[in-house]
């Protein structure tokens, strides 16, 4: 069976150890986690966990069922039609050309978020593939540090 990439959101109770239940499930059953983000859902006692995973169709189906089986899970959404974004922060030396970096950031839905005496911090938020392109393109400005966030997704 062919391996596919899937973005899955689990809506879970916002309670202690719920993340451990989810990540433990993946570790214990040998499922992949490519990226995982978790944050509370506003005005509720719920959290949303967005997971990017890879596996064949049987494994993806099992992941969804096993997530649903957790007592703390309200529902699981397997995204098909969705908007998906990822964020990255990159630190450049102050000696690099601010204007060029800014122009690059604009191409990837971002901008300069901080500029100090020794460094420039740039941000971009875009689809994962484009974030990879952004990181590639930034190489010519001698990045000092790159921090990628996880993926968040919302149904269209």
């Amino acid at each position: 069976m062919q391996e596919v990439r899937r973005v899955i959101s689990a809506i879970v109770m916002n309670e202690s150890s719920v993340l451990a239940r989810v990540s433990g499930l993946f570790a214990g059953r040998g499922y992949n986690i490519e990226s995982l983000t978790v944050a509370p859902i506003p005005n509720s006692d719920l959290s949303r966990i967005t997971i990017v995973t890879k596996g064949n169709q049987r494994i993806i189906e099992q992941i969804i069922k096993q997530l649903n089986k957790l007592i703390s899970t309200l529902k699981v959404i397997e995204h098909e039609e969705m908007v998906e974004k990822e964020m990255v922060l990159i630190k450049f030396p102050a000696s690099e050309h601010l204007g060029d970096i800014q122009a690059l950031c604009h191409t990837y839905n971002g901008g300069i978020v901080n500029a100090g005496e020794n460094m420039i911090i740039a941000m971009a938020a875009d689809e994962s593939k484009r974030i990879e392109h952004f990181i590639e393109a930034s190489q010519r400005y001698n990045p000092l540090e790159i921090v990628r966030g996880g993926i968040v997704a919302i149904e269209r």
């Binding site: 202690s16 214990g28 007592i71």
Partner: protein, 564 residues
């Protein structure tokens, strides 16, 4: 009503109708034990090891169908209980285990007897709780019982810090639970049920594949009604022994690695598998790509995650076996023609004549299979049989004439040696009117032999029949078959004096070397009101057959072993 957290635990247990708690005290759970001392709503059995306490609660649950309850302290008390939790989890047994924990202020400081109980037990419980406020305690206890015994049952751990059991709060035990994130489905989809029934009417070689879910769902009577109506033959997994009843002509036998020939061939040649409460375990299916190759599959299971996990299913039905059968049977009345499956039943009957389940009895040495048959002839329906894990377990499953569900209690999923004796204590406490026999081996029995003391103290007369081949028999068998007889660490010929051991702990011991001695010992043991060890010297090199080698196809069975 205002009371301490410890009292709340007792009150909740009483409200849940608990009459027996198995446990072992210690520092972090002392407050609860103090409250136990002052109440008289339930009895407490002091097992001599926490693992045994959980197995005893498990055996109690399996025999009675009620939730089993065990209580342990923090740290080592809890870690000793983990094997019990994992055993119950694998076989979907409803348990509530209450563990003490160090006070909230000490959690995370590597305090004395501190261990992360919820962390350790997460993968081997259905759910678990660390109570961090007295206000939550009544609700959590209520939820624990509900979760343990609903949907697909399983063990639930409630870990309670010592300061919570000391604290006072209002006890308002909820009459209902409301967990928005937990809604098991019982009903079964009507359209899928209809389609499944149509497939049954079309099939020529249908086969009922019965799993432990039928026992847990108390669906045995309905299954018998279903087979009587349709005349569809059935196989039972290790966990479903007793569902059809030994005398039932439609029962082919046990399926799987040590299943009988006709059962495994039926699975291999059927054109429709009707799976009820079974989960396609690797010990049942053998090589997956060869399993039930010619069959469409109807899979009825209360746990959606079991459906499609290992094999592709044509008719998935998520629901309780009883509820689904209640809907299926009326659709079959008047439509099903049992004659349609006559040719199929004849083929299977021929398979059974060709290679019936059998063994070569002997007059020189006691054969373990003979012992099982003898117990069956003597006690039949009147005994509850527990077992440990290994050859004796398989022989018991093969040769005991089980007549009803909950008559056969064993650790099927996890395969826990040391399970049988404490589980027998729990079963006997739950169903005192039945004779309870633990069929065990000289390896397994030592893994919880301290329970002799528990059994003697509480006068729980469990009969332990030790099929003593002075080997770790099942591993020895694999070494004979697959490791060129290199008997690495399986020779147990250095032995304790089992008779003296039982006597030293307040029980009775029997040494048995002939069939006559066995008959006499069994007769005497049934009369006695005492726990006993019956040390039966059996043929050392007896093998469990048939056998499907691990990873092999179900239809490729070793039917006999010729020593080269």
């Amino acid at each position: 009503m205002k009371m301490s957290g410890a009292q709340m635990v007792c009150e909740a247990l009483i409200a849940e109708g608990v009459t027996t708690v198995f446990g072992y005290p210690g520092g972090a759970i002392m407050n609860v034990y103090d409250a136990i001392y002052k109440q008289n709503g339930f009895e407490h059995i002091l097992n001599r090891h926490e693992q045994a306490a959980v197995h005893a609660a498990d055996g109690y649950a399996r025999a009675t169908g009620k939730v089993g309850v065990a209580m342990v302290t923090s740290g080592p008390g809890f870690t000793n209980a983990v094997t019990g939790l994992a055993t119950a989890y694998m076989d979907s047994i409803p348990l509530v285990v209450i563990s003490g924990q160090v006070p909230l202020s000490l959690i995370g400081t590597d305090g004395f007897q501190e261990v992360d109980a919820v962390g350790i037990s997460r993968p081997c419980t259905k759910h678990n709780y660390l109570v961090d406020s007295i206000e939550d305690l009544p609700r959590i206890l209520k939820e624990a019982f509900y979760i343990a015994n609903s949907g697909r049952p399983g063990p639930v751990l409630v870990d309670i810090p010592k300061d919570i059991t000391a604290e006072y709060g209002i006890f308002n035990y909820p009459s209902e639970v409301n967990i928005p994130t937990y809604r098991p489905s019982y009903k079964g989809n009507d359209r899928q049920i209809k389609k499944a029934v149509e497939a049954m009417l079309e099939a020529k070689k249908p086969l009922l594949y019965l799993g432990g879910g039928v026992v847990l769902g108390n669906a045995s009577d309905l299954v018998r009604e279903f087979t009587k109506l349709t005349q569809i033959p059935a196989v039972e997994t290790l966990m479903a022994r007793g569902v059809m009843g030994n005398e039932n002509p439609l029962l082919l036998g046990m399926i799987g690695m040590h299943g009988n020939y006709s059962s495994n061939m039926a699975m291999s040649e059927a054109d429709l598998i009707i799976s009820l409460g079974a989960r396609f375990d690797d010990r049942v299916t053998g090589k997956l790509s060869e399993f039930a190759k010619y069959a469409q599959i109807i899979h009825v299971d209360i746990d959606p995650a079991n459906i499609g996990k290992l094999v592709d299913v044509d008719f998935p039905i998520v629901g309780d076996v009883s509820e689904v059968l209640h809907k299926m049977i009326p659709l079959l009345v008047g439509t099903v023609n049992p004659d349609r499956y006559q040719a199929w039943r004849e083929i299977l009957a021929r398979y059974n004549e060709l290679h019936p389940l059998s063994y070569n009895d002997s007059d020189e040495v006691i054969k373990p299979q003979w012992v099982i048959e003898r117990i069956g002839k003597t006690l039949g329906e009147n005994a509850i049989i527990t077992s440990d894990v290994g050859q004796h377990q398989m022989w018991a499953a093969q040769f005991y004439p089980f007549d009803r569900p909950r008559q056969w209690i064993n650790s099927g999923g996890l395969g826990t040696m040391g399970f049988g004796f404490p589980a027998a204590l729990g079963a006997k406490r739950g169903i005192p009117e039945k004779t309870v026999i633990n069929i065990t081996g000289d390896g397994s029995i030592l893994m919880n032999m301290q329970e002799l003391v528990t059994a003697a103290e509480y006068k729980i007369p469990v009969i332990n029949v030790i099929l003593n081949n002075q080997f770790l028999g099942m591993v020895r068998q694999w070494q004979t078959f697959f490791y060129e007889k290199r008997y690495s660490e399986t020779d147990l010929s250095f032995q304790p004096n089992f008779k003296a051991l039982a006597e030293a702990c307040g029980g009775i011991g029997y040494d048995v070397t002939t069939k006559k001695e066995f008959d006499d010992a069994l007769k005497d043991a049934i009369k006695q009101d005492k726990v006993c060890f019956m040390n039966v010297a059996v043929n050392r090199f007896e093998n469990v057959l048939p056998m499907v080698p691990a990873g092999g196809a179900l239809y490729n069975m070793l039917l006999e072993h010729k020593d080269k």
